[in-house]
């Protein structure tokens, strides 16, 4: 059991981690145009200081023994109503620590990159304000010590994501993509809020410690319900099936946003949620199985979409979906997988950020064209981008010794430990990864130049290439460093639990099979897209390609199952409102109006007729009295 330490020393700065970028966002967003000049630097500065504090905390944390690495800081009592008591309290443990590092370090690099990428934008202070807001919300999400506070961060990153996807809201597609992301995320958020409510009803608390400490008191049905609701939440945020449709459209946002939010950090919040709630999923086998199924489906959907798209960012987005599918699948495997889900999340955060920023660098040199069919032969034009992109590609494909190899291989191994079928599926998905990443690299950097007229590709400025180089170094060495020097299993084990099972296939055979398949996929991609001429207009392709170009009909399905019925329902409700509700209200008004119009002439103004009616009334009253008497 973990010992909870009071946050002293450097850990007393926990609140500052969140407060700094929040203050940066507030200053940038409220002070208007005049911050355009120095605002971006302020945005970079807050996140940079955060990164330094985070590294300092990591060093301090490593100095403690494994049981004494959980630090808690209670700021104030936030909500107090009946039995519900929620504190504004932060908790830093080994799991949050790695997330804080990922968010702040990758966040800093992407902020720096944005200085170059957004240098010509008239609203760049707003962009950096939103980025800071995102960092603050994401840190709140991972540092919260209860589900309700986590929910605040969860909504905060959703808001920042919405604002950043539709940052160029002049483009109708960007505005629509932002709304789409927000609405689909909302479906997931409903899952999280319901899960929190069920937790409160069952355990009487929403704090992590209280909930995880008393899972044995709840029935398995309740835990399964909570697990499935958490899975819904995770699916929304992490673009997992069936809530995956928003991520591809989210690429309408500026490329640094795609790198920071829609590849490295926010979309992994679902994996964090599942891993954090490991006590619940360990006790609810059905929910854990559902997590694996969702992960496998998304892993393949993402890979297939990534193989067919010609838009470099959308292809990368498909790959992100696929890789997060890996993580979700690993998290669903239970204690054999949690650690590796987080491991892959970290390496993926670094190499996918590098790939996205590389794609942004290519777009920067190609007049913001995203169509890979108009790229080609860029390896000589942009050397640094080319080299870093290739390193990222090798890493995501899982070629040793790049970091993706270690994390993906661990997941494949863990999958075989729990279920051979899932293991085989992960290997097949790895082969598809090899294909689509080779295709992307080949179409962009190799083959013949298919540039549009007037495009003169050039290398991006240093402020953009230096983050690329740092991320490429990370993509190369991080896997080895985390596995052999950082001992990620023992580091995370106190929080997530860890166990290893023996499997029949020896490790080297597994690695060899995986590598052969990945290389086969890569070779096919190379033959198709580097050795042959790439047509400028996409050929019709087979049915799978056509389906993948339509995002595997994700939009069509949503349209038929949700959007159209909603339209019908709303049309029915409008009709009902117009003809029945309004009909009743207007009808009664008309009835009384007509009645009074008929009664009005009796108000004639002639005093004697009033007198007559009075006398008549009096006579009637007397008659009634007499009749009552007589009877």
């Amino acid at each position: 059991m973990q010992e909870v330490m009071p946050a002293t020393g450097v850990f007393s700065l926990l609140w500052l981690l969140i407060a700094l970028p929040l203050a940066g966002a507030a200053i940038l967003l409220f002070s208007g145009r005049k911050t355009n000049k120095w605002g971006p630097y302020l945005g970079v500065f807050t996140v940079f200081v955060d990164a330094i504090i985070a590294i300092w905390m990591l060093i301090a944390m490593m100095g403690n023994s494994a049981e004494q690495r959980t630090f808690s800081q209670n700021e104030f009592s936030w909500m107090f109503a009946g039995n519900l008591k929620v504190d504004m309290a932060f908790q830093l443990d080994q799991l949050s620590m790695v997330f804080v590092l990922l968010i702040t370090v990758v966040g800093t690099l992407i902020h720096i990159y944005s200085l170059g990428y957004m240098s010509h934008d008239p609203d760049k202070r707003k962009f950096f304000g939103y980025l800071n807001l995102f960092v603050a919300a994401m840190l709140l999400l991972v540092l919260a010590n209860n589900y309700l506070l986590l929910y605040v961060g969860w909504e905060g990153v959703g808001l920042a994501s919405f604002l950043l996807i539709s940052f160029w809201q002049i483009k109708p597609t960007a505005a629509a993509a932002g709304k789409k992301a927000f609405i689909i995320n909302r479906v997931g958020d409903v899952g999280l809020s319901l899960a929190i409510m069920v937790m409160f009803v069952t355990f009487g608390s929403v704090g992590f410690d209280e909930v995880f400490g008393s899972t044995s008191q709840a029935s398995e049905g309740t835990l399964t319900a909570i697990g499935l609701l958490l899975l819904l939440a995770a699916a929304g945020k992490s673009a997992q099936f069936p809530l995956q449709a928003w991520l591809l459209d989210a690429m309408e946002g500026p490329t640094p946003v795609s790198a920071l939010i829609h590849a490295a950090t926010m979309v992994t919040a679902g994996v964090y949620l599942i891993t954090r709630s490991n006590a619940i999923f360990d006790a609810a086998a059905w929910a854990a199985t559902a997590v694996v199924v969702v992960g496998v489906i998304t892993m393949f959907m993402g890979a297939i979409i990534g193989s067919a798209k010609d838009d470099i960012k959308k292809s990368l987005a498909g790959s992100t979906m696929s890789q997060i599918g890996y993580m979700v699948l690993a998290a669903g495997l239970g204690p054999v997988g949690y650690v590796f889900a987080i491991f892959h999340l970290l390496t993926h955060g670094v190499f996918k950020a590098g790939l996205f920023l590389g794609a942004g660098s290519v777009m920067h040199g190609m007049n913001d064209n995203v169509n890979m069919r108009r790229y080609g032969a860029l390896r000589t034009a942009m050397m640094v981008t080319y080299a870093t992109f290739i390193i990222g590609t090798l890493s995501i494909m899982g070629i040793p010794p790049f970091s993706g190899f270690w994390s993906k291989d661990s997941i494949i191994h863990a999958a075989f430990e729990s279920n051979t079928l899932v293991g085989i599926l992960t290997i097949i998905a790895a082969a598809i990864t090899g294909f689509y990443m080779t295709r992307m690299a080949a179409m962009t950097f190799f083959g013949k130049a298919r540039w549009e007229d007037g495009v003169h590709p050039h290398e991006s400025p240093k402020v953009m290439t230096i983050p690329l180089i740092i991320l490429a170094i990370g993509s190369t060495f991080m896997g080895i460093a985390l596995l052999f020097w950082g001992n990620i299993e023992t580091w995370l084990e106190p929080v997530t639990g860890f166990e290893e099972k023996h499997i029949a296939i020896p490790e080297w055979a597994l690695i060899t099979i995986t590598l052969i398949l990945v290389l086969a996929g890569a070779a096919y991609g190379w033959i198709q897209y580097a050795r042959r001429e790439v047509p400028l207009v996409a050929p019709r392709g087979n049915w799978l390609t056509r389906a993948a170009r339509q995002d595997l009909y994700g939009d069509a399905v949503n349209n038929t199952l949700v959007v159209q019925p909603s339209f019908w329902l709303s049309r029915f409700l409008v009709w009902f409102d117009g003809s029945w509700i309004d009909g009743f209200v207007n009808g009664s008004a008309a009835f009384f109006g007509g009645l009074s119009a008929r009664l009005r002439p009796y108000q004639s103004g002639f005093i004697r007729s009033y007198a007559l009616s009075m006398v008549g009334g009096a006579v009637l009253v007397v008659l009634a009295l007499v009749l009552v008497r007589l009877s």
Partner: protein, 99 residues
């Protein structure tokens, strides 16, 4: 003399007064008819008081007289004002207060 005769007389007077209110046009005459009705009611009160052997009805008769006196003051003032503005005391003419 039988007190019920007074009640009959009071009913007759009340009927005459009511008829006068309904059929006459001159405001003064209508007003007089109203007074006739009031006094018919007074007579009934007094007669009933006599029949019941207590003073309640007589006390009420005094109240009615006081109220009637006040009402005459207000009513006559209104009629005089109407006459001044319209040169007529007909109660059918001022009929503007209607729908």
């Amino acid at each position: 003399m039988n007190p019920s005769n007074y009640v009959i007389l009071s009913a007759l007077l009340f009927g005459i007064g009511a008829l006068g209110v309904l059929v006459r046009r001159n405001a003064i005459v209508v007003f007089m008819s109203v007074e006739l009705m009031l006094n018919a009611a007074n007579l009934a009160f007094v007669a009933f008081a006599r029949m019941n052997g207590n003073l309640d009805g007589q006390v009420v008769a005094f109240f009615v007289m006081v109220v009637a006196a006040a009402e005459v003051v207000v009513g006559l003032a209104i009629i005089v004002q109407i006459f001044r503005s319209r040169r007529s005391a007909s109660i059918d003419e001022p009929n503007l207060l209607k729908y």
